[in-house]
């Protein structure tokens, strides 16, 4: 098999002068969708995960459990279809929202359920004594979470958060289904137009691997910087793609 890389210099005859410029733009979309979804997922996942560990709040934690079960048990692609086709039709003010935002909501909330699980596991992995110590010092619930529990819990869950951030890059590929012009969409369209599938897919695959690796390195730096000396915990990241 001989590869012809000059396929990327051809003119797709659309918005972009060449295929490689289109590919770069698609990479940009992949990165934007992934990073924004990660922010959404971290915010919602943290809130839901923390709520599940709060003492004396059975209804709130039941609600949080329902949240996790709901977003975990429906395939991501179905959730994206729900956000794209169903929610704008049923909720009036969502009508004009661009599909990019809808996909970020879908991917972000989907991932928030997994992050909520990890936040909860991280908090529960701490010895109970830490909580009681905070209480004994006269801290309010908000205070002992803010100053005692969360700073430790977030350090514990950096390894599973790393794999979740890498997952988000991989999962962003599902956005092709609602015509976000990210890399998988590019791969499918460019393959169709040029019939040089191997070159196109190779380029896209390599960019996905580079993105995942970059996130992995960034998280490794964060983990190293935030490490508490003499406190090594490994949290299990579980299955998933």
């Amino acid at each position: 098999m001989n590869l012809q890389w000059d396929v990327f210099l051809q003119d797709p005859g659309g918005q972009y002068p060449t295929y490689w410029q289109w590919l770069l733009s698609a990479w940009g979309w992949t990165i934007s969708v992934s990073l924004l979804s990660l922010v959404v997922a971290l915010v919602f996942g943290s809130v839901v995960g923390i709520v599940r560990t709060l003492p004396d709040n059975p209804w709130l934690s039941r609600l949080a459990n329902a949240w996790v079960e709901l977003f975990r048990n429906i395939p991501l692609l179905v959730q994206i279809f729900l956000w794209y086709h169903v929610i704008p039709a049923l909720v009036p003010f969502m009508k004009g929202v661009p599909s990019f935002v809808l996909v970020v909501c879908a991917l972000g909330l989907f991932t928030s359920a997994r992050i909520a699980e990890q936040v909860r596991a991280g908090i529960q992995a701490l010895p109970k004594g830490q909580r009681y110590a905070g209480m004994a010092m006269g801290f309010t619930t908000v205070q002992y979470y803010r100053y005692v529990i969360l700073p430790m819990a977030y350090r514990i869950i950096i390894p599973p958060l790393t794999s979740e951030s890498m997952n988000i890059f991989k999962n962003s590929s599902v956005a092709f289904a609602v015509s976000i012009s990210e890399m998988t969409m590019f791969a499918m369209q460019a393959q169709e137009e040029t019939s040089r599938g191997v070159e196109v897919y190779l380029a896209v695959t390599v960019l996905y691997i580079i993105s995942a690796f970059a996130i992995n390195r960034i998280m490794a730096v964060i983990e190293k910087r935030s490490r508490v000396p003499g406190f090594i915990v490994s949290a299990d990241s579980g299955g998933g793609h």
Binding site: N73, P75, L77, H85, N171, S173, G238, G239
Partner: protein, 229 residues
């Protein structure tokens, strides 16, 4: 926008959903079995400590795990040659090209994930068990088959089943190559009757019920195994 409840009828299920559900379940079962078999092989290769075995297995597993599943599906659809599909009798290869490609993809892809589960399972067996097996004169193969793998499988059963539930959810991604799975059934029904909203809502409910009840069963099983041990 109002929901038209008359959309939910027997005709919808018979004409669109049964076929899709059948393929989704078949794909899940076949690729779980295939994935566990090849995954065990990969895990044993990685644990063998022999470089010509460790290296290719490691590259394969890490490679598969760093590429999005949709891209893997597209790759296999592109690369499996037409001569392979010609091997199937009764023009099956011609009529079910996407479906056959999906089965191969999922076996290959899930093998990487199952091998990581298997590796963790095998490593969770205490060293003493391995040494005891060797001390009574068992070969490596006997030791694996009679001592280690039975225990590893048992330890790993809940994780394996959880992965199977994820796998069932992931079968919806064969949408990318147009294979007819459960989601495609809902998609086609929604388009056919001009009722996409009702159709996708039902899709979400059906997937939720299936996956929620399966994970409830896994949770029960996990508790049962934990008590025995």
């Amino acid at each position: 926008m109002n929901i038209d409840l008359s959309f939910y009828n027997w005709e919808l299920i018979r004409a669109f959903l049964i076929k899709g559900l059948y393929f989704s379940v078949l794909l899940t079962i076949v690729s779980t079995i295939g994935g566990v078999i090849f995954g065990t092989v990969l895990a044993l290769m990685r644990l063998s400590g022999k470089k010509p075995l460790v290296l290719p297995a490691t590259i394969y597993v890490n490679g598969m795990r760093s590429i999005p599943l949709v891209m893997v599906i597209l790759w296999f659809y592109l690369l499996v040659p037409a001569s392979f599909y010609a091997l199937f009798p009764y023009r099956l290869g011609e009529n079910y090209r996407s479906e056959i490609s999906a089965v191969i993809t999922f076996i290959a892809f899930e093998a990487a994930y199952f091998s990581e589960i298997m590796r963790a399972g095998i490593q969770s067996i205490p060293r003493g068990q391995v040494n005891a097996g060797m001390a009574v004169g068992m070969t490596y193969g006997q030791n694996m088959k009679l001592i280690i793998l039975p225990q590893a499988f048992r330890n790993m059963l809940p994780v394996l089943l959880t992965q199977t539930i994820i796998l069932f959810q992931d079968t919806s991604l064969v949408y990318a190559i147009g294979a007819y799975d459960l989601l495609k059934g809902f998609d086609a029904a929604g388009k056919n009757f001009g009722r996409p909203i009702e159709s996708y809502l039902l899709a979400a409910v059906v997937y939720f019920i299936i996956c929620f009840s399966l994970s409830w069963v896994v949770k029960r099983l996990h508790k049962k195994i934990a008590i025995i041990r």
